[in-house]
Structure formats: C-alpha cells, structure tokens
Amino acid sequence: MSIFSNRTAIFAAALWALVQAPALAFHVGLGNAAAAQGAKVVDKANSEYMDVGGSAFPALPSCGSNMALFNSAPVTDPTFLSYMPLGHVFPPGHTFPADHSYFNFNASSTQLLGINLYAPGDGWITQVTSYYDNVNSAPAFYTLTFSPCAEVQLINLSVNTLAPALLQPAGPSSTSCSSNTGNNPGVVWSCVTNMEHPVTGGQLLGTGGLVDFGPIIDTRFQISGFIDPARHVLDRGFCPIDYFIPSLKAAYTATLGGNNGSTLIIRTIQPVCGTIMQDLPGTVQGDWFFPGAPYPPDNPHLALIHHNVDPSTGTFSVGSSIPGFAGSHDFDPKTTADGTRIDYDFSLVNDNQIYCYDTLLIDFSNGAGGPDPQYAGNIVLLQMTDPSLDTLKIELQNPGTPCPSPASWAFTSNAVTFQR
C-alpha cells in the first residue's frame, strides 16, 4: 500500500472517529476509559442490588414518596391494647429515648405465648436472626426484618416460633452464625439468615414473644434537631404508626400510650407518637454522653428528658456512670422559673448555675408511681459548667432532706461530667 493510500485511510478513520465521538464516550487514556466503565458497572450494580445484612440481594422497588406502606394489622389478638409512643427509657440498655414502639397487651404470660405476629403490609422479610440459649437446641426466639420497599425497614420484630414459610425462604438466602448475643440475656449463639422472602399483609410471621414494634429505618428522611447530629443515626427512629394506611393509622393513633393492666394511659401531648429527639439547644434538656465512651450502647450515658407517655413529667434516665444513681427516675418539674432553681423543667435550665432536684418519683411507665422510697432524702445537683453549655456536671447527694438553700449546693468528687 502506498504512503498516499495509507495516509488517506488513516485520515478517513480519524475523520470517522471525530464524527462518531460526540455520540460515544470519549476519554483520554485507556486507564481512565476503563475506570469510567468500572464506575458505570458499579453504579448499575448499586441500582440493581442492595445490602441485606451484609449480602447482596436484588434491590427492592423504591418506596417513592409513599407513606401508607402498612395495610394490615400486625396483631389481631383481643388482648392487644395499644402501641407505646417512641422515647421509652429503660436504662442502661435504653438510657436514651428508645427508637421503637412496643406492643401493649393486657394478657397473662401464657396468653402472650399464643399471640400471632402478622406482616403489616405487602413486602419482603429480608432477615431472620435465630437466638439460641443452647447451641444444640432449637432457637429460643427470632427477630425479623420486614421491608415494604427499598428505603424502609421495620426491624427487630421478635417472635418465639417462626412461621413455617420463613424456615425455608423462597429464593436465595445466606446464613452466618456467631457468638453474637445481641445483648440478649441467656443467649449464647445466633444465626443471621439474609433473604428476600415475599410476604403479603396479614401473612403469619410467627407466634409469641412479641415485644418491640420497630425501629423503623427510612432512608428517605433524617431526624433533625440533635445538638450533635454526628453522634446519632438520623434515618432510624421514626414513628411506625405513620406508615399505616389512614384507617389503621387513625385507629392506632387514638390508642398511643401506656397501660396499667387493662387501663390504657393515652398520651395526649403532641407528638402523640413520641420522639427520640429531645435535645433543646441552650438548655440542659436532651442526650448527654459520657466522655470517651462509645455510642451505641446507651449504657454509660445520660438523658434529661420528658416521659414518653406523659411528657409533662421530667425524667432522669441514668446509665451506669453516676455513683449511686442509675435507672429511670421521674419528677414533677416546674414549668416556670420561680428563682429557686429547684425542680426546674430541663428546658428552663439554661445557664451556668447549679440546679437542684428532689422528690424523685417511681418511674410510671404504666401509671403514676409516687415518690420513690429508695431515693427519699436524696437530691440531684446539676450544672452546665462551660459558656457554650456543652459540658454537664451532675451528682446524686444524700443530705436527708429536700434541696437545702442554694448557698449550700456544692459538688463533691463524686460528681460526673458529661458532654453533648
């Protein structure tokens, strides 16, 4: 081939390339072109698959903006009374307001064993965790994750026995076992099975052992208002009642509260479904973290909040870091500052002075409990010690009397410091 014809051929090819190039991707360097193709494949895989407990499964359909994702009652047993508002505390495991609701029953322990749990909507069971008290015996109980669509998960649904259909899930599944106990007392072994088993609303999921309803994880939203958002999981802890169809939502909303036996104690203060975010900037109200301790777990930390059933009540939710002071303790707060700095609502504590609390009450998750005799004569002193109000000093003292005059309020070496 002559040089002329060679040149012509190459120029023709180059011209063709230039004409075609706008319609195709163009890259400088084959390495960059390969990386771009790798990015394309990764993005495609990311859109077609999702993480289900550490394994890749085909992605569920998007929820879009749909909130009415639960179309069926998860519990139909006549002993069911209500759902608990978010924000229940039970230190040290739930020192911070709980990010889930609970099923409230008026049932004997025997009756509880026979209560069925049904799928709250059409969707998929994506994970079943089996917990064993003895490695060689049948699981003691199970927890389930239900997803009505890609962005929403209802996790930690517990049952004692699993519906037969879930023992042999449809489609691919993967199981891994370990000594992870999930902080469940008595558990020595657990097995996590990831799956995408389709269920329809009202389908039996299991029986007995129903406790938690939620948490709800919804990646479409973020919980706002935390003083330090980086400390919290912001897409977890939404009200599960908000995900029911309107008729069920209205019925359940009317019963949100606690119960004392058959007596329902309705929450009347908005939001009636409660909230896990009670931080109030510039005040002592909200979550406080023990310096250097990890979160989760809740155990070493502190929450100065309002009760999830009766928010007019103040609650000290104390983990394991304050000497002599642990658990959940309520008090009747003053809602206006009267100059005494005694028993002020946490929202009124907004400076660097010392405040005092006395007359701690028995936690009344299930009804008013009255003064707590275990803490008679005890007082709690607290003070935000820095100008930015991000450091809290707190101490339980036992003067044997209610809060004495402020002039005598002073911390000892037992005082503990927390941070926002």
Partner: protein, 196 residues
C-alpha cells in the same frame, strides 16, 4: 509439452539497463547504499521504553514496519458510591508506515485485561446500599480496540505518540455479577525512548 533447452548466446548486459526512449547511454545509479529520507535523523529503532497516560510501555520492533508492545495504564473515575481506580494490562500490535519529516503514521490493534476497584467511598451511601457489602465494587474484564495515530521523532532516541480509536470495554462486578460493555473513543499519548 516441455520446450527444448535454449542454447542461444546470452544478450549483451548493457541493454538490460533502463533508458529513456531515444537515449543511447544506459541509466546507471549515481550512488548506492541505504535509502535515507531527507530530514529524518537516523537513530535506534529496535526497542523503546515509554511513559503513557498514567502508565508505562515497552515496544519491540519486529522490523521497520511492524512492532509489538506491552503496556500498563492506570485511571480514575467517579461513581455514585465512590472513586474508582482502574488497572489495565494491554498488548498492542503496530503497523508503521513510511516516515516523512519526523512524522510516521501508524495503526494497530490492542487487547487488554482490565480490573477496577473502589478506592474511596462516598459518605452519602445509604445503609442499604450494596456498596456496604464486603468486596463490592471490584470488577474485571477486557478492553479491545483499534487505533490510528502518529509518532513524531523529537530526536534520535525520543519520540512522542498520539493515537485515537474505538475501544470496546466490558467489565463484570464480582459480588453481584452485574456486567456491562460499551464502546468508547480513547485518545492515548506516550513518550518513547528508543533504547537500541
């Protein structure tokens, strides 16, 4: 049928030289030896070591017209889940054409093994993203294509290459087995040092 052997006397060699019509003297080359293209510096042409787009290459000329090359390239791109790094191990075959005024056109084919991985993840990946699955994001596959370009001789040993061509790149993600192939146009450049 076979012809009988030619026993005639051989012709005068001088009449075998070409000559213009009417000329009496034969055309005899005035010089002999290697053909030299005017303006082209003589230099080694056998093996070249080069630096290309984020990589390196080694070229071996089989003869003045044909060459083979092995090369390694790296690359980077952004994806929804993070930054992607690529490694390319390729083999090229070249056909070189005549050199004129330091320029030499060439064309060729390439086949390459490609692997990519996620170097860094975006913080915005949701908890349910498959990007959270261990091992997700590693891909492997091929790149193959043709190219045409030009090499410009800067001196006796140094030359720069510029070529462009269509490449088909096909990759498969290892955790999900999701794959995709597409046709891209690729512009490649290199600086070569001819060793000998």
């Amino acid at each position: 049928m076979l012809a009988a052997a030619d026993t005639r006397t051989p012709p005068d060699p001088s009449i075998l030289y070409m000559r213009p019509p009417g000329a009496s003297d034969p055309l005899i080359p005035s010089t002999t030896g290697q053909l030299v293209v005017p303006g082209s510096p003589a230099g080694p042409r056998r093996m070249a070591l080069g630096i290309n787009d984020l990589g390196a290459q080694l070229r071996l000329h089989l003869n003045p017209d044909w060459a083979a090359e092995v090369r390694y390239l790296r690359g980077t791109a952004s994806s929804d889940v993070g930054t992607i790094d690529a490694n390319v191990f390729g083999v090229r075959g070249y056909r070189f054409f005549s050199e004129h005024h330091h320029f030499q056109l060439y064309a060729g084919l390439e086949a390459a093994y490609v692997s990519t991985s996620i170097r860094s993840y975006n913080n915005s990946n949701p908890p349910t993203s498959v990007a959270n699955v261990s091992g997700f994001g590693d891909t492997s596959g091929y790149a193959t294509g043709g190219f045409g370009g030009v090499e410009y001789r800067l001196g006796r040993r140094v030359a720069i290459d510029l070529d462009i061509g269509p490449y088909m790149i096909g990759l498969q993600e290892k955790v999900t087995s999701v794959s995709d192939a597409s046709l891209d146009f690729v512009l490649d450049t290199a600086i070569n040092v001819y060793l000998f």
